[in-house]
Amino acid sequence: MTLNKLFVIILVYKQTKMNKTVTMQNLKNGLIHFLSHTIGVGVLVWMFALPAQAALELEISGGSAIQVPVAILPMAESGAAPSGSRLHEIISNDLRGSGMFRIINTSGMPALPTTASQIKYTDWTALKAQGLSLGEVQQVGGNLKVSVQVMDVLRQTALLQLTYTVSPSQYRHVAHLIADQIYEKFTGQPGAFATRIAYVTKVGKRFTLQIADYDGFNAQTLVSSNEPIISPAWSPDGSKMAYVSFEKKKPIVFVQSLYTGERKVVANFKGNNSAPAWAPDGSKLAVVLTYGANSQIYTISADGSNLQQVTKSSSIDTEPAFSPDGQSIYFSSDRGGRPQIYKVPASGGSASRVTFEGSYNVSPRFSPDGKYLTYIRNDGGAFKVAVQDLGSGDVKVLSTGSQDESPSFAPNSRTIMYATRVGGKGTLATVTVDGLVRQRLSEAGGDIREPAWGPAQAAPK
């Protein structure tokens, strides 16, 4: 098979009728091989070869999510449109994948409007649509001019009028921007579709640190190596990536500019240098150094100067994460015997314990709004993603795998991405903070691990 990437979509039909599964993928895009037939109570495994890099699969579990019914109509597109999914398909996939929307099937409709004046509202109220989006894509010079209107079907008024002029390479990005606007209009919360993720792939013995859209498309390699790469961390402005590379046969912390490729060693001291975490203002990082002893937390300026020790223990102190206000560093430590999460003032001082449930909690990461802490809990030998409401202290275990790792929040604080293993291979998955909506991203031919969801920001031109 010459296609380098294959994606596995697993449709899991739960026994309870309240649960439903929807594939987000455009099934027309090259079904190559029907891999397997029904197994047991109904697990269907299909393999698709896709022109683009990735696919998110949606699995909505639980029936209590309130979903806004919306119709996302095809745009009038003049001239040669970029290949791949159409704008309305990308928007639909985003909204459906959030679990907050029900996308109305318009395939039975005789004529679909492309301007507001063509809308027959009775058609859409009959389908119980609350929102309807339509518009056009025009070629203007070498660019695309995308004009979209989102209508309130009941009031028959425009909720959104959006116009973007972009290069054709930004086609998917514009769709994500539109989906963000629609999401915010109907839910009152910002969307996180026009965002990027970083992750590490391992194919054979080759490690690559990649950046991609949140749905896995448009993947680009930032660095590749025959030695391990771990712990990618986005700078708060999204312009730089800190990570740990073993290229010199030991872990060293690098910071690399996404756009210039400039690469700096930030921490290369005797022993290990690892676990970089940016302060919210981007001026410094927390890192873990060992010298000749156990892992301890330090802060260091982004240029490698001004090293300061934060924790001083004879235990393991690692996996630092700044609180969103920059005042505290949360970290994993086995100072009490088993690994638990503690916090310490970012300038150093005495640490206090944060997690009390369960005998093993590591890898803390904050939601950007500061309301939640996600971490990995070892739950009877299985490593799962947990989330703690920092207001109430309530803890919920969210993931269902046995080797789940590296949780990180979307910039809208609603969804957590993490690494999981399926069929012995590393892949990425997402789950909403309420645990109701899950998706999985997969790439055949290698392992994907160590996801880090980038901050909210516009993509570079």
Partner: protein, 184 residues
């Protein structure tokens, strides 16, 4: 390990060199080129034993007979650990002691202790656990007189682990410290 083969003009010269300087593996590596025979044909006059008329070419395999580091008691360089433990098991204490003896006798020689873990758990926490194991071996070497300046402790965590182990016999292979001499 590379099978470094020297082709030399004068065996005596080489053996003298080996004895007179501490075995530095980096130097073995660096001189692994075939020496030009003409150069040692006695015209330097530096070593009478090399300036004979006849050139006997002999091949020396430094990885076996003549390398102290390749002696049986130093060839073993892996210390294995129990699950979630950094305690050096009784059966590895002699191994560690042999390396301590060598390092004390060769104070210019340096080692890197590379800690490793199995794949269970998070990458960074495993890095810290692997480090704890390398520190445990370092402490054992220190007690036996090896200087801190000769030792660097690092960890690969789970990064070199076998993937998808099904039983502890498999995981056990990953829970170890590798003793790596500088230059090797």
């Amino acid at each position: 390990m590379n099978k470094t083969i020297w082709t030399v003009a004068a065996l005596a010269l080489v053996l003298t060199a080996c004895k007179s300087t501490p075995m530095n593996p980096a130097k073995v590596e660096d001189s692994s080129v075939t020496r030009p025979i003409a150069k040692s044909q006695g015209n330097t006059g530096a070593d009478s034993s090399a300036s004979t008329d006849k050139i006997n070419i002999k091949t020396v395999d430094v990885d076996t007979s003549k390398d102290e580091l390749s002696a049986a008691e130093l060839a073993k360089r892996q210390v294995f650990f129990d699950y979630d433990s950094d305690a050096i098991r009784e059966e590895y204490k002699a191994l560690v002691a042999n390396h301590a003896k060598y390092l004390v006798a060769h104070p210019q020689t340096k080692v890197v202790l590379q800690g490793n873990t199995d794949e269970r758990g998070t990458h960074e926490y495993n890095l810290a656990l692997g480090q704890r194991r390398s520190v445990a071996v370092k402490n054992a070497l220190n007690v036996l007189g090896v200087s801190d300046s000769q030792i660097e402790t690092v960890s690969y965590g789970e990064e070199r682990s076998k993937q998808n182990c099904a039983d502890d016999g498999c995981f056990q292979q990953d829970r170890r410290v590798d003793i790596v001499y500088a230059g090797q």
